[in-house]
C-alpha cells in the first residue's frame, strides 16, 4: 500500500489554491500541525502525538479512526480548547495561540459533539449567540448580526423552527440549530465533532448537505470528525485516518480507504470496492492479536 504522508501535501490536486510566494506557507494548508502532543491532566502519555497534519484550504476533511484514537482530542487542540503539551498549530500560517480569543473565534468555529442550552431558549436567540465574537463587550445587535443570523438560519434550513424553544426540538433538529449557531459565527474554517452521531438517517443527510453547501458556496474549510468510515469516504474530499493518536494515513478517500486500512486502523476485516462511490462491506471484527 502506498503511503501519502501529510508532509507531502495534497499532491493529487492540481486546482488547489497555492501560495508559492510565501516559503513559510505550506501549499494550500488552512491548518498546519507540526509535532503536536495533546494530553489531559493526570494522564502520563499524550492522547495525540502527531508529526505533521494538514487541513487543506477550501476542502472538506474528515477525521476518522476507531474509538480512543484521539479524533476529538485532536479537534480540541485545533480549536484551542486544549493547550498542547508540545508542538504548534498554524491557522493561515499563524500560530493559533497568538490570536486574541475573539479574533480566533471569527476565523475558526468549532461545534462540540454534545451541547447544552437552557430549554427555554428559542432557536433564534441561540443562533444570535453565534455573533458573540463579532461584538464588543457592551454591543447590542447590529444589522450585520441580523443579516448573518438570517443567512445561517436559511443555510441550515431551520427557518420554520425560528420561534421554537430548544426543549421542544428533536435531536436532529437541535443539531441543525447548533450548526446554524456555528454558521452565524461566519468563520472561514469550521470544525465539527461527530455532527451526525445519534441522528436518524434523514437528519444525518441534512447535516451533511448543509456542510457540503457551506463548503461549496462559501468556500469554508471544513474539518469534521466522522464515526462512520463509509459516510466519510463518500462525503469528504480528504480523509485523515488516526490510530493511537497518530496520523496513520492521509489523502483522497480513494487512495486512503483500503482493506489494509480497515484492518490496520479499525481492526475490521472488510471488502472495499470502488464503483461510482466507495463501498465498504464489513465482514468481521479481527481478534486483538491480528491487529
Amino acid at each position: 500500500m502506498s503511503r501519502t504522508t501529510p508532509a507531502d501535501g495534497p499532491t493529487h490536486d492540481a486546482d488547489e489554491p497555492r501560495d508559492a510566494d510565501d516559503p513559510n506557507e505550506v501549499d494550500g494548508a488552512k491548518i498546519h500541525v507540526a509535532d503536536l502532543e495533546l494530553g489531559y491532566p493526570g494522564l502520563d502519555d499524550p492522547v495525540v502525538d502527531t508529526e505533521t497534519l494538514v487541513i487543506p484550504e477550501g476542502e472538506v476533511t474528515a477525521l476518522v479512526g476507531p474509538n480512543g484514537s484521539g479524533k476529538s482530542t485532536l479537534l480540541k487542540g485545533l480549536a484551542r480548547h486544549l493547550e498542547p503539551d508540545a508542538g504548534e498549530v498554524l491557522l493561515d500560517g499563524r500560530e493559533i495561540t497568538t490570536y486574541d480569543s475573539k479574533e480566533f473565534a471569527r476565523e475558526l468555529g468549532m461545534l462540540a459533539q454534545q451541547n447544552t442550552a437552557p430549554d427555554g431558549l428559542t432557536v433564534e436567540e441561540l443562533v444570535h449567540h453565534g455573533r458573540y465574537p463579532h461584538k464588543g463587550f457592551l454591543d447590542g445587535r447590529t444589522e450585520a448580526d441580523e443579516a448573518a443570523v438570517e443567512r445561517a438560519i436559511d443555510l441550515a434550513g431551520v427557518d420554520h423552527l425560528r420561534e421554537a424553544e430548544l426543549g421542544q426540538l428533536s435531536g436532529g433538529q437541535r443539531q441543525l440549530v447548533w450548526i446554524a449557531m456555528a454558521l452565524a459565527q461566519e468563520t472561514d474554517t469550521l470544525l465539527l465533532d461527530e455532527p451526525t452521531t445519534y441522528l436518524d438517517l434523514r437528519h444525518q443527510l441534512r447535516v451533511m448537505d448543509v456542510i457540503r453547501t457551506l463548503n461549496e458556496e462559501r468556500g469554508v474549510t471544513v474539518c469534521v470528525v466522522l464515526h462512520d468510515i463509509t459516510q466519510a469516504a463518500r462525503f469528504a474530499d480528504y480523509l485523515v485516518a488516526l490510530k493511537d493518536g497518530a496520523v496513520h494515513d492521509w489523502g483522497r478517500p480513494a487512495d486512503v480507504v483500503s482493506e489494509e486500512l480497515l484492518a490496520e486502523v479499525f481492526g475490521v476485516d472488510a471488502a472495499v470496492e470502488y464503483g461510482t462511490e466507495p463501498v465498504i462491506t464489513p465482514r468481521r471484527a479481527l481478534d486483538d492479536a491480528d491487529v
Binding site: 480548547h81 473565534a105 468549532m110 442550552a117 427555554g120 449567540h129 458573540y132
Partner: protein, 377 residues
C-alpha cells in the same frame, strides 16, 4: 408529574418569555413594595393613624425643601460638608419618626433585596444550578466568621461590623477560587470548594460564640448571622447605595455573557469568550452585590435563592430579563418580610432573615412540586 403532560414532548413548564412578563413582575413588585413600605411606616411604637402617616410621608416640609430632604438622606456632617445642610428641627414629630427611623429601614430593605436577588441570579447562571445562592461560594462563612471575630476581639467596634462582613465574605470568595483553581475552574469545582470553605468557617464561627462576652454580643452576632434590619439608619442606606448603583447596572449589562456561559464552557470558548476571565469578573460582580447586602443586613437567607428562581419562571431564561426582574422582585420579598420581622411579634423584633426563610421556604417547595425540571438551568 401530576399535571398530565407526559406525552413524550417536553412540558412547557414556563410561561411565555414576553416583555410583558418582565413588566408584570416590575409593576407587581413596585405595588407590593409601596404597600408593605407604607404599612412599615405607619406602625411602630410611636402610634400614628394612616392619615398622619400619609401626611408625614408627603410632608411639604420635606419635599418642598430639597435641602431638608438631602440633609436627612446624607446625614448632617456630609450635608454640611457639601454645603447642602438645612435645619430639620422644624419637622413635626410624625415626620421625624417616618423620615429618620422608619423610612431608612424600608429603603435599606429595597437595596438588600435587589442586591441579594441579582447576586443569586448571577450565581445560578454561573454555576448552572438553580439551587445556587449568593452564599454558594463561601460568602456566608467568611462574613459570619469575620463578624464573630470582630465581636470577640473588638467588642466596642460595632461600626466596623459592616466592613468586617463585606471583607470577610470577599476574602472567603477569593479563598474558594484559589482552592478551586487547577488549570482553570469549573462550576462543580467552585461549588465544592465553596461548601468546604463555608463548612470550616461556619464551624469556627460557631466555636467563637463561646468566647462572646455577654448576651448582648450574642444577640448582635445572631442578628448578623440570620440577617436583620433592626436599627438600620440612613447611614446604612448610604453605605449600600453607591456600590448598588455601580454593581446592578453592571450585572444587567453583563447578562449577555451569562447567556453565552449557559451554553457550556466549550461553546463559550468556541465563541471567543475568555471563559476564566469572564467567569471571575462576573463572580466578582455578584460577590460585590452580595457583600453590599450583607454589609447592611447581615446574612439574610433565601432571597438570593428563591427570587431569581421565581423571576425565571415568569420572564424566561434570558439573563438580562432575569437580572432586571430580580431588581424589582428582590425588594418586594425583603420589604414584606421585614414588615413581618418588625411588627408580627411587636414590640419584639425578629431578624428579617427568619421571615425570608418562612415566606421563601414554602414558595420554594411549591415551585419544586410544580416543576419537574427543577434543578437544571
Amino acid at each position: 408529574m401530576s399535571d398530565g403532560h407526559t406525552d413524550g414532548t417536553r412540558t412547557r413548564s414556563r410561561l411565555p418569555a414576553t416583555p410583558s412578563g418582565l413588566t408584570g413582575v416590575a409593576v407587581a413588585s413596585l405595588v407590593v413594595v409601596a404597600l408593605a413600605g407604607f404599612v412599615q411606616i405607619r406602625y411602630g411604637s410611636y402610634d400614628m393613624s394612616w392619615a398622619t402617616a400619609w401626611d408625614a410621608l408627603t410632608a411639604p416640609a420635606v419635599w418642598g425643601h430639597p435641602r431638608v430632604l438631602l440633609t436627612l438622606l446624607l446625614g448632617e456632617p456630609l450635608a454640611r460638608a457639601l454645603g447642602l445642610y438645612a435645619n430639620t428641627d422644624g419637622l413635626a414629630t410624625p415626620a421625624v419618626v417616618v423620615w429618620t427611623l422608619r423610612m431608612p429601614r424600608v429603603v435599606a430593605a429595597v437595596l438588600v433585596g435587589a442586591n441579594l436577588a441579582v447576586s443569586g441570579a448571577v450565581f445560578q447562571a454561573l454555576t448552572r444550578n438553580e439551587l445556587a445562592s449568593p452564599y454558594v461560594l463561601g460568602v456566608s462563612g467568611g462574613a459570619g466568621l469575620a463578624v464573630l471575630l470582630t465581636l470577640v476581639f473588638f467588642a466596642s467596634a460595632s461600626l466596623l461590623l459592616p466592613f468586617a462582613a463585606a471583607v470577610g465574605g470577599t476574602l472567603a470568595f477569593l479563598l474558594v477560587y484559589a482552592i478551586a483553581w487547577k488549570r482553570g475552574t469549573s462550576p462543580v469545582r467552585l461549588v465544592l470548594a465553596g461548601v468546604v470553605v463555608a463548612t470550616v468557617f461556619q464551624s469556627l464561627q460557631t466555636g467563637l460564640f463561646f468566647f462572646l462576652g455577654d448576651s448582648a454580643a450574642v444577640k448582635t452576632a445572631l442578628a448578623w448571622i440570620t440577617g436583620s434590619l433592626t436599627g438600620v439608619e440612613w447611614a446604612g442606606v448610604r453605605l449600600a447605595l453607591v456600590p448598588t448603583l455601580l454593581v446592578l447596572p453592571a450585572c444587567a449589562l453583563a447578562a449577555r455573557h451569562l447567556d453565552v456561559l449557559l451554553l457550556g464552557e466549550d461553546t463559550a470558548r468556541s465563541l471567543g469568550m475568555a471563559v476564566e476571565r469572564v467567569r471571575f469578573a462576573l463572580a466578582a460582580l455578584a460577590i460585590l452585590a452580595a457583600a453590599t447586602g450583607v454589609a447592611v443586613a447581615g446574612l439574610v437567607g433565601f432571597v438570593g435563592l428563591v427570587v431569581p428562581h421565581a423571576v425565571r419562571t415568569l420572564v424566561g431564561s434570558d439573563s438580562r430579563r432575569v437580572v432586571l426582574g430580580c431588581v424589582f422582585a428582590g425588594p418586594a420579598l425583603v420589604v414584606v418580610a421585614d414588615v413581618g420581622a418588625r411588627l408580627a411579634l411587636a414590640p419584639l423584633q425578629v431578624p428579617v432573615g427568619v421571615l425570608t426563610g418562612v415566606i421563601g421556604g414554602p414558595y420554594f417547595l411549591y415551585l419544586m412540586r410544580k416543576h419537574d425540571d427543577f434543578s437544571t438551568l
